[in-house]
Symmetry: C2
Subunit: 339 residues, 2 copies
């Protein structure tokens, strides 16, 4: 931790950050034709590749734990939970291939965290297209030292209300493995070719869709209360639109058909991260979700992540040290069982 | 106006309400195989139909101006601007067919408003797939007495940044016809078959997409300042996500490629309605947009509209009569040039 940071500040635990391992082109090709690999340009920059295509420009902080720890020191992040970049999910592949790949990626993540076990923790990825294989990988990953699971918010047409995905979530609850739901494979992409519109428009819609699928299907009536479910990017558009959803539930029979209680009453069944980039929005998010259910998440080290982790929390709650301490640290300690 | 309303309350001008005219099945069939028509069940209820299919159950307030005025009296709405139900747009039809249809629908809307010219005003629809025909219809509609235009937020793959749609918006500015942009033809529908998810998830994403297409394409640098552009449903998810957009613009070259200024700095170039269903969200919306740029809009008479028009404004700004007066009345008077 930087000496410049005041000693009394709460620890900053960032529960939403990504990694992309140093995957060799041959290893990717052996796994699947669309499996991503890393082109390391040797100057601290690189590209995530798919075959010969450049998928995204990236920095060494994404794959090099030493570079990551330097960044964490400079940014004042004490502990960071890292998880796969969603292009690594492989949900559209043959399930056996994806299961092998997930195990290999999870081993990569553990190796990344081994550089500083007290400061880096890893969330697993799973072959979510095969519920049994996904459950097996969660159990294996937990034994291997991963501390939670990241899943995408859908597998093709199957959303979070899919019976198989719900069975998977129940398994995670039984294993005491918190689940981070991350938007991916964004809707409407053919109409959003420029300006990163899928990240700016469709990602928050995907997350909101996932939450509504859980609420309106009645899934929360069945899921174990022990499930610790964290939705990325402040839960997407959900907290902003929950009033619209409540109004629709009150007034339209087909909205409440499978959901016995007011949609907003299920806010106590999940958590969200704080990657919302606007102090007013963060305050409204905390108002809707409760201060115990918002956790620092940065989406680092991507440019669409937070540049100054925790600064938004400090700004939004400058006069409430108790809320700051919960969001920056205590909630993550509770959810992930950290000392 | 109901005698029960206190005489000093500000007038309530609702700039976002829908109508669906009493379209005969034969008239619809003559226009286009997918043209909608009204099945009036004769008991105050009906269905919007497409061919033999029931599109949506509706109430007489949607087509009968006397029923509408009774509802307005009971709800305390003094003036209401009515516009087409989006299923009437016909943007996917042959342009000449759609142009004829739009003119006929606009005549229907005028006939609806003729029941109480001081209390009902109509926004036109246009064949937006044909820019010249759309401009002609705006000019014709203005002369006929319609006071603005409603458009959908896209025409197939063409978004609000399409050069033709921008030329149309410039024409509307020249004609001093305010434009209400309404989401429709929602993305991701195949994954949202239940619980009105397209209305709860994709509609706000469509509107947000439209605003970002205008901002990130640089269109606001070219559009005339006189253009009065109102985005429905509080601008969808935009005000909630503008921090995410600003962060992306600051940090990623491809986001700012065509947009010279910080995205949030364009908030003074458009307006939004207040149909957001949550007092905290409405306060944040007013904080982001400014109290001069939020107008009462109810989405009446649909069940996903406001049940108690203006109640949310009263709740959110219980202690600020000046803001209430702006949102409920003065902003609409200014934008639409009402006495």
């Amino acid at each position: 931790m930087s000496a410049a940071l005041p000693p009394t500040r709460p620890r900053r635990i960032d529960i939403h950050a990504h990694l992309f391992p140093r995957i060799a082109r041959e290893d990717a090709a052996a796994a699947h034709p669309r499996a991503p690999w890393l082109a390391d340009h040797g100057d601290g920059t690189g590209h995530i590749m798919q075959g010969d295509e450049r998928f995204r420009p990236v920095q060494a902080t994404l794959w090099d734990p030493r570079a990551r720890l330097e960044w964490m020191d400079a940014a004042g992040v004490d502990v960071q939970f890292v998880c796969a970049t969603p292009v690594m999910f492989g949900y559209a592949w043959d399930a056996a291939q994806a299961a092998q790949w997930a195990a290999r990626m999870n081993d990569h993540a553990l190796a990344f965290c081994a550089a500083a076990p007290a400061r880096l923790r890893a969330l697993a990825q799973v072959p979510l297209q095969d519920v049994e294989a996904a459950c097996r990988e969660v159990t294996r990953a937990r034994a291997a030292g991963l501390v939670g699971v990241q899943i995408g918010n859908h597998v093709g047409a199957k959303g979070l209300d899919d019976p198989g995905i719900l069975a998977f979530l129940a398994h995670c609850a039984g294993e005491r493995m918190p689940v981070l739901v991350h938007p991916w494979d964004m809707m409407g992409g053919e109409r959003m070719r420029k300006w990163m519109l899928p990240w700016l428009v469709a990602m928050p819609a995907e997350t909101h869709l996932g939450i509504l699928q859980l609420i309106l299907s009645g899934a929360f009536e069945m899921l174990p209360r022990e499930l610790e479910l964290v939705l990325a990017h402040g839960g997407g558009s959900f907290a902003w639109l929950v009033g619209r959803v409540d109004n629709a539930w009150r007034r339209r029979d087909i909205v409440r058909a499978d959901c016995p209680r007011l949609p907003s009453s299920y806010c106590d069944r999940f958590l969200v991260d704080s990657a919302i980039f606007d102090a007013g929005a963060l305050r409204l998010l905390v108002e809707r979700m409760g201060a115990d259910r918002v956790l620092l998440g940065t989406d680092a080290p991507f440019p669409l992540g937070e540049e100054h982790p925790g600064a938004l929390v400090d700004e939004a709650f400058a006069h409430d040290a108790a809320i700051r301490a919960k969001i920056l640290c205590a909630n993550a300690q509770r959810v992930f069982g950290l000392a």
